[in-house]
């Protein structure tokens, strides 16, 4: 087994409306997968299911060989904390905290002591080109910088899987390129990435593209 995520017959209905149906999917460890499709096709819903944020109406999900029990909310939260990182279109940074404190937060939550969390967060911000901005409040950053901070926060606790939901949706082309190059670099270091996007030009960074339409996977291909 070299897959890290495996979904079998995954489906999601909300008020009898079909959102996802019969999704079969395998993502290998270290893979960079782009999930594309038009608005409302079910991309984000699938990401929320794979990220253990939402409960499927049917089907089975495995994460690193472990079958997920969606009824056990405590275990789901622990799995998210230990294995999954999220980057969204909106940065969701905490405005009451500085750049550094935002990145330190997952580390402190995982039980790191304050000084270790601080040095790890500083080193990560340095790697992501945010040196010198550690003590800045969030509102002083540009959109691209905010997104890089949110990536730093997601990476701070070394997740095995990084789930990105339109991470460049709010960025200009220059910042989009920077963020995508950063994700590619993170992937090269071994983190599995699932990128949800409707921007086809970004699929060139992925190893594999999965196209979804009306809640079903309609095509899979390797980008050229």
């Amino acid at each position: 087994m070299d897959w890290i995520i495996k979904a079998e017959g995954l489906s999601k209905f909300i008020a009898r409306e079909r959102i996802l149906q019969n999704i079969h999917l395998e993502i290998r460890e270290g893979e960079f997968v782009a999930l594309i499709g038009p608005s409302g096709s079910g991309k984000s819903s699938l990401l929320y299911l794979l990220g253990l944020l939402d409960e499927p109406s049917g089907g089975t999900l495995w994460l690193e060989g472990e079958r997920i029990n969606f009824a056990d909310k405590t275990s789901l939260a622990r799995l998210r904390r230990d294995k999954i990182g999220f980057v969204f279109q909106f940065h969701y940074l905490i405005p009451e905290l500085t750049v550094l404190e935002n990145v330190m937060l997952p580390l402190l939550h995982k039980g790191e002591n304050f000084s270790t969390a601080k040095s790890k967060a500083q080193s990560l911000l340095h790697t992501l080109g945010l040196s010198g901005k550690e003590n800045r409040p969030i509102y002083e950053l540009s959109g691209g910088e905010m997104q890089r901070v949110s990536i730093a926060r997601a990476l701070s606790y070394n997740p095995k899987i990084l789930l990105c939901d339109e991470p460049t949706g709010n960025l200009d082309s220059k910042n989009t390129l920077k963020v995508m190059e950063l994700l590619a670099e993170i992937n090269k270091e071994g983190t599995t990435i699932l990128l949800v996007t409707h921007d086809l030009s970004l699929t060139r960074f992925a190893h594999r593209v999965i196209e979804i339409l009306d809640g079903q996977i309609v095509k899979e291909y390797v980008p050229t």
Binding site: S44, Y48, L53, I84, F86, L97, H109, N113, F114, R153
Partner: protein
């Protein structure tokens, strides 16, 4: 846990104005609790302490049984009879009181026993007259079995032993009659019509209006002789080691003797009941103040939760457990409580210090130059406890709501 504290402090720190309003609310609620409790218990403790010091802990007196049964028996036991104007069965005296005193003194719980003859009378000084309670005492014994000397202005209790015409006058009687110094002669009129010119040798000032307004102490033998009741007493007064066990001991002694045994609690039952009602009313007012002030905390936490929906969603996505979300916002409430309590402790202390210095002439149930305060740590600890309970109550609902947020719904909405 450190991540939770870290977030809590950041959330509170960045809301200075709201935090100030909420913590002032806690401080005012706390201060109201401490100061009101201090005033209320101060007054009550003072009153009870004076009563315990001054009054017998247990009183033994003749039973006031009326002669109804005998009258009914004479007429017809089966008849429906309403007896009007039945007379007391027994004379107002304690028979064999010397033996009884010895017996009572043998109880290990009893510190001392004294005997008195009490009667009603009228005091006259110049043109002024006043109805009074006359209490015939034996000074040496009284000094052992009560704290009467503590309340004498000139500590001249022993003059009652030396001078059969001496008396000690309640402070309010003296004031009403216009007697300001000792040595004045007053005329006492007794229930049997006898009169006697007596000399004021001291003043008795307990601070309890009802007592200082009615009591006159005089030598037992003088009163017995003027009432033509030689060697008679109608009250035995006991002082016991544990005042809280007075009622229990009263029941025990009551089973062994044929006279009525009354504890100080029973004698002052009406006052103690009033104090209970007073406590309930005061606590209702204080709790209403704390409740209103805790709305400040509810408001700030609720607004925080509404404002922080996005951040709560990302925390849940990052693996925070719902109970950890509850703790973040609950701790926000507790931080406000800690800050509010510190301010409240300072305010309450300052206000108590100010009230302790204020001079006002109070004359009601008690007489005092200022407020009676009970400045005990207990009031502060109870204040902290109650404001904490209200704070947790006010913080819990919004905190719980925060933990129930669905992150997916929030992510979809942005």
């Amino acid at each position: 846990m450190q991540a939770i504290f870290f977030l809590t402090l950041a959330l509170v720190r960045k809301r200075k104005k709201q935090t100030l309003v909420a913590l002032f609310g806690v401080a005012i609620g706390f201060t109201a609790f401490v100061v009101m409790s201090s005033l209320m218990f101060g007054f009550q403790k003072y009153f009870i302490q004076q009563v315990i010091d001054l009054e017998p802990h247990l009183m033994i007196k003749p039973k006031e049984e009326l002669d109804e049964k005998r009258i009914i028996k004479v007429i017809d036991p089966q008849a429906l009879v309403k007896v009007l104007g039945a007379k007391p069965k027994e004379k107002d005296r304690i028979l064999g009181w010397r033996d009884l005193v010895k017996k009572l003194e043998s109880y290990p719980e009893v510190i001392g026993v004294t005997y008195q003859l009490q009667a009603k009378g009228v005091i006259k000084y110049g043109a002024k007259e006043k109805p009074v309670s006359l209490i015939g005492i034996e000074p040496a014994r009284e000094a052992k079995a009560s704290s009467i000397e503590k309340f004498l202005t000139l500590k001249r209790l022993d003059t009652l032993s030396r001078n059969p015409e001496a008396l000690i006058l309640g402070a309010i009687i003296a004031r009403d009659l216009g007697i300001k110094e000792i040595g004045k002669k007053v005329l006492l009129t007794f229930p049997n019509g006898a009169t006697k010119l007596m000399k004021v040798e001291d003043f008795f000032n307990s601070g309890i209006t009802n007592i200082d307004n009615t009591r006159i102490y005089l030598p037992l033998k003088t009163l017995q002789s003027l009432l033509d009741r030689p060697n008679e007493v109608n009250l035995l007064a006991l002082r016991i080691r544990d005042v809280n066990r007075a009622e229990e001991l009263a029941r025990k002694i009551g089973k062994e003797i044929r006279y009525e045994v009354e504890s100080w609690q029973r004698a002052y039952l009406n006052f103690l009941k009033i104090f209970k009602v007073q406590n309930i009313i005061t606590y209702m007012i204080v709790f209403a103040i704390i409740l209103v002030s805790s709305f400040g905390i509810f408001n700030i936490i609720y607004m925080m939760v509404v404002d922080k929906r996005k951040e709560i969603a990302i925390l849940l996505a990052m693996g925070y457990q719902p109970r950890e979300i509850v703790l973040i916002f609950l701790f926000c409430g507790i931080v406000l409580w800690i800050l509010g309590s510190i301010l409240g402790i300072i305010l309450a202390y300052l206000l108590e210090s100010y009230l302790a210095q204020v001079e006002i002439g109070v004359e009601g149930l008690i007489r005092s130059k200022g407020f009676m305060l009970d400045r005990s740590v207990r009031n502060y600890l109870l204040g902290l406890l109650f404001t904490l309970i209200f704070t947790i109550g006010a913080s819990f609902y919004p905190s719980y709501k925060a933990s129930r947020l669905n992150p997916v719904e929030i992510f979809r909405s942005y």
